[in-house]
Every structure is written in C-alpha cells, then in structure tokens.
Symmetry: C2
Subunit: 418 residues, 2 copies
Amino acid sequence: MNVEAYMNKLGQSAREASRLVAKSESGVKNKALLAMATALDNSRDALIAANEKDLENGRQNGLDAAMLDRLGLGHATIDGMIEGLRQVVALPDPVGSITDMNYRPSGIQVGKMRVPLGVIGIIYESRPNVTVEAASLCLKSGNATILRGGSEAIHSNQAVAECIRVGLKEAGLPAEAVQVVETTDREAVGQLITMPEFVDVIVPRGGKGLIERISRDAKVPVIKHLDGICHVYIDDQADRAKAVNIAINAKTHRYGTCNTMETLLIHVGVAKEVLGDLVDRYFAAGVELRGCEQTRALVPRVNEATESDWSTEYLAPVLSIKIVADIDEAMKHINLYGSHHTDAIVTENYTLSRRFLREVDSSSVVINASTRFADGFEYGLGAEIGISTDKIHARGPVGLEGLTSQKYVVLGDGHIRQ
Amino acid sequence: MNVEAYMNKLGQSAREASRLVAKSESGVKNKALLAMATALDNSRDALIAANEKDLENGRQNGLDAAMLDRLGLGHATIDGMIEGLRQVVALPDPVGSITDMNYRPSGIQVGKMRVPLGVIGIIYESRPNVTVEAASLCLKSGNATILRGGSEAIHSNQAVAECIRVGLKEAGLPAEAVQVVETTDREAVGQLITMPEFVDVIVPRGGKGLIERISRDAKVPVIKHLDGICHVYIDDQADRAKAVNIAINAKTHRYGTCNTMETLLIHVGVAKEVLGDLVDRYFAAGVELRGCEQTRALVPRVNEATESDWSTEYLAPVLSIKIVADIDEAMKHINLYGSHHTDAIVTENYTLSRRFLREVDSSSVVINASTRFADGFEYGLGAEIGISTDKIHARGPVGLEGLTSQKYVVLGDGHIRQ
C-alpha cells in the first residue's frame, strides 16, 4: 500500500472511531487510561528493549548527546508516563458540559455544549513519552488521535502504541481511537496535514522549523507554538527585592523552556540600582549579558546587543537588557519584538499594572510574578498539550478544554419561527 | 502605488490602529457608532446617489434582478443600517472581561481576560449594508477592520465608508480603525488573505465559491460559513402536530437562508401519516418534493431523489425526503450527508432526545423546534458576523464574543517558580 492510501485508511478509520469516542462515558475513557498505565507497567522490558534499538540506531546515525538524552526511555520515564495517565484520569471530563442555558423571548432554551473536535493529528519529535501524553489528553477530551513521532523513535513509539491498544481494548474502545503512524516515510506528514475530511486539527510539537513548515503546508487548522520571546519589565515603582527575585528566577530557573525571560527591560530611573543588584548574580550563574548602549554605559562588562538580539529566543544562558524611558516604551518594545507568549511587569503602581494587563498583547500577561509560571500545571489545567501562540481558538497553555469546541443546543416544545 | 504596496500600507496602518481600538473604552466606541448613525442619516442623498451609480453600472454590465436587488440602497436600507448601529451600541462590550480568576496552590492568581483578535479582514459581495454591519461588530469587539466589498458596490461602499470615518473622527478614534479597500483590483483580495503579519483573521461572506477559494488560498485563519444542509428528523414518538408545524416552518419560512431544512427524515413507523399531513401543504406552498424509494411508494406524486440530493443545499423551494428505520439511521445520515450546521429532531422520547443532543455533530442541535431559530438574534448574541461551520474557535452563530479571544492574566506579589 502506498503512503497516500495508508494515511487515507488511517484517517478514515480515525474519523469512524472518533464518533464512538465522542459519545463514550468518562468512566470508560478513564478505564482505558488506567489499563494503559497497567500495560506500560507490565511491558517495561519490552519498552526498554525497543528503545535500545532506537538508541543504537541513533548512535550509528550520529545523533548528538542531547538528542539521545531526549530519546531515552528508562524506568523513570515509564514511571512518569504512568503518573501522567493517572493525572489525566483525575481531571474532570469537559465533554458534554452544558453552559449558559437560558430561555429566549421566543420560548426556546439555548445553551452551549462542549464537544470534542473530532480527529487530532499530533506531529512530534524524539521524546517517546509524548506518545502517551498526547494520546491520553486527546482521548479524555473525546477525540480520536493520529500520532506521528520522529523516525528516530519508531521502535519505542510502536512499543508504547501496543500498550495504548491494550488499554483501549480492555475498556471496549476501538483500537483506531489512537493510531500511531507505522511508516517513517516523510510523505506521511504531508498527507496527515492535508486531509481535512479526516483530520480536524493538527498539533505540532517540536522545533520552530518543523512547526513553521507544517503551518505553511497544512490544509487543516494548526494549534501551534512558535517562539517564546518573553520579557520582564522592571518599573521605577517596582519593589526592588521582588524585581530582583523575579528577574533571576525568570532567566535562571531553566534556560531551555519557552516561558523563560529572554529580554529584561528596566526603567531608566532605577536601572543603575537594579543592574547593581543583578549583574553579579547573572554572571555567577553563567549568564551572558547583552545590553543596549545605556546599559553598557552603566555596566561596561555587559556585551553589546544588536538589533537581532531583541527578537531572538536564546533558549540558553544569554539575556538581552534594554533600558527604557517608561512603561510606554516598554510595552511598545514588547508588542513589537516579543512573540506574544508571556510578559511580566514588576511594579507597585496600581494604574500602571492595570494598563499593562490590558495593553500587552500576549497569551499570558503577568504582574509581579515570574514568567516561568506560564504552563498548564501552574494554571490549574492539570496538563497541557502545548502552549499556543495563536490568537484563534486557544491562546496560552492548551489543556483538555482547548481540545474541544462548543456547539449550540436548542430545546423547544414545538416552537416555530414567526 | 501597486496593489501589493497599497494593501501592505492598509495592513500596517490597521495593525497600528488596532492597538488603539483594543484599549478604547466602551463609551468611546459607542460614541463612534452613534456618530456613524448620525452621519448616515445626514448623508442619505449622497448614499443614494452613489448607489445609483453602482446600479447603473450593474444594469449596463447585465447584473440580474436578484443581484441588483441586493445591491440596492434606499431609505429603508439606510434605516436598517442606523437601527443596526444602535443595536450594537446596546450590546455589552466583551473586551477586558475577566473570568475564572482563582488562587493557585503557588499563591498566584490566574484568570482569563477577553481580548480583541486584532485586525479582521472582511470579504463580501454586493450588499452595501454589510459594510456597516461588519465594521460595527468589529469595532465594538475592539478590532480594526479592513473591508473588501464587491467591485459592483464600490461607489456605495465608499460613500458608507465616508460616514464611518466621520463617526470614528468624532469619537477621537483613528480613521484606520475601519478601512474600506478602494481598489477593485482582484489582486487586493489575494494580498489581504496572505498578510499574517497585519491580519489576524478573515471572515468571508458570500457564495460558496468565494469562501472555498479564500479558504484554500488564505495564509491566515478563516472563520467561514460553507453549506447549510439542515435536517429535521421526525421520530415515531413525535407529537404529530409539532412535527408538522416544525417541518413546514423549517422549509417554507424562508427558502434562501442557510438554516432552512433541505432534507426531511421520517421514521418508517409514522411515515405514512406524517407524509399525509405534509405533502399537500408543501405542494400548496409550491415546494418540489424529491423522495427516496420508500417515500415514492407511499406518495407517487413525489419526484425521485438521487444520491446527490442528500448533499445538496437547494436554497430554493425543493425538499428531499428520506424514510429511515430509526434514530441511528437518521443520525448516521445527518453526520454523513449534512454540513454540520443545524439539525433537529422531533420526538417526545427523553432518551432519544438526549442521544440526539450528544451524538449529532452539528453547530446547532435542536429538539422540538424549527431549524430556522439558528441565528445570532434568536440565540441572544444580539447580532452576528456570520454562522461558522468550522469546529475551531467559533461554531455556529458568531457574535461579538467570536471576534475576541482570551489571554491569561497572572497576578502575583513577587512570586517565583520553585
């Protein structure tokens, strides 16, 4: 069977399975998720053996240490997958929830019912635990899933898929509710993102290159995460201790995450003191600093920032620093150079914090807290499929609700339109 | 200036204006809307004269009577536009509304703030009153708009645009908050739908051909309305009087609307009686009936329905009729041949109505009421920019809320991530 025919078959069977998953009761979905956890626990040897094949191939193909690290699947990763499944079981089922049901002047009642999107295609790289994470969130939200992992993880993903199938079967759900693409042919991705008749939305998880390519070529909606160029703006009315703690945490808590601060903006009125507090701590942590001219005039040890620094997501121990005249310059900088992901102000001023909240056009706008809080767990979504930098459908961390939509329900008693 | 440069300029200035509109207070936006109404009222002669030019050109270019009728802009249309503006003024402003603000275990507070999408591109045909309708909804929801009407209405649209500009100016809002494309060059549409840096979403309003073309070529999200192939299923436990009233109303109340029933499904157990009640009334109203074999066996006067009838949106006094074995066959037919727009069941059975509500995958699911209720006014949205047949972002009638998104707001007191 050629790739096109194979993907079409996958799509069609996913579409059919999606109708059964959509009407499944929460208890049945939870039973499947728990059975998957048991299957993973019972298959540790098989999982690790399959992963060893991928690692061996990876070593032969010259994958670097970081890639091999992400690809690895040991007991700790399996424990994490099992724990993740239990957490998803514990989350409330969003499907079928009816809100805003009100009588209208005509006498009909109108409300909204939360419903699954249908079939979700997930495209991801390396980490095999994404297979379980994505499958569990999609299943709990009543969707069928087609998962396409990286070719370097194909054996691991197939072994995980087998556990997922066991779980689905045990709960009486169709095996086609979660399907892992079995071919490593790259054409499979091209097919997956151009079958609007079978796939309702694509969620790509991976590097910016992958996501841009998919967004460009997709013929179905994409819930995507691009850059995380996050800012902290320290106002002249900031509490200095809070400002310093937040600026250190937002940069140094983790370097490779999308909600890490990449540019620090400081009000000119407090720049000298704040930089005095911060620079040594950043250097001690091994952070390279790149500053605007004013910054370098105050602290000559700081490297020069070029125009491109303001729009760079370092994902590394590098920080650009800019001194601004006021909140207006800060917000203008954020809205121009930022990626509309997560941006914070530190200030004790009520009016400025209120303005920042309204006028900064980012998926998360933060007052007096670290940008690092921007994720599904911290926000109480329980788990997330990703953080959307889109404005349409879902902005910011996307949990179960983001994998659903709402339809209108209308109740009458023989009502006709006059 | 070539079209590309012209559209880029429009886009860039819309993007800048969108930031000012986004933070405008409701009172300012309402002042602009009321001033537009006054300007329209004061410009009746100019509007009618401009429209006369379009009508004259239309007659010379051989537009048919229906097109000319839709293009016409007389005192009644102007009254309607003024009334529409007043209705939008009366609607609550969705922008800035914060919901679900809760303390998290970490001590931060997390909530969601409703925010404008940014810049909305509207592409429409003929009817000049859409210019005011779309502009007012986009403005009230805090968005900037670029409007591209049909070339056949260019003089009318420019005259309306002048009134919109007067209104914006009077309220101190930038003229670029609502811009009407001044060129009739078709390339302008191609540009408008491929500028993701300046345009956040496209709303096409017009025929299916236009919408399909735009969806195919757009590089920005499209909130679209495709077919309205709506069904009424009359169950064997339906109240006969309700069933007949609803079936007549859903078809004959208006023929050209998207929420008009196109296919009637009848349970085999009541088909004979129900058809006996309905057929003469449909014929009396001038409706052509096309039935399945079973239908024709009961009522030979009914024409033969072919496979293509089940997926045709007639928008005309034509109705296809199919007799089904039970609710399962009915729902299967609806989910397969329907357009996921609006579908109704008539039944007194509690369990079947509950199943229909959950299992029918349409933007509006209706029990014991006419499909004709599916619109923004009847649902209490106040006004609508269209009815979405998409699943992502907005499903069903799209009002002010559908023209917005939600960002996360996070309040802390110096909180850092542990």
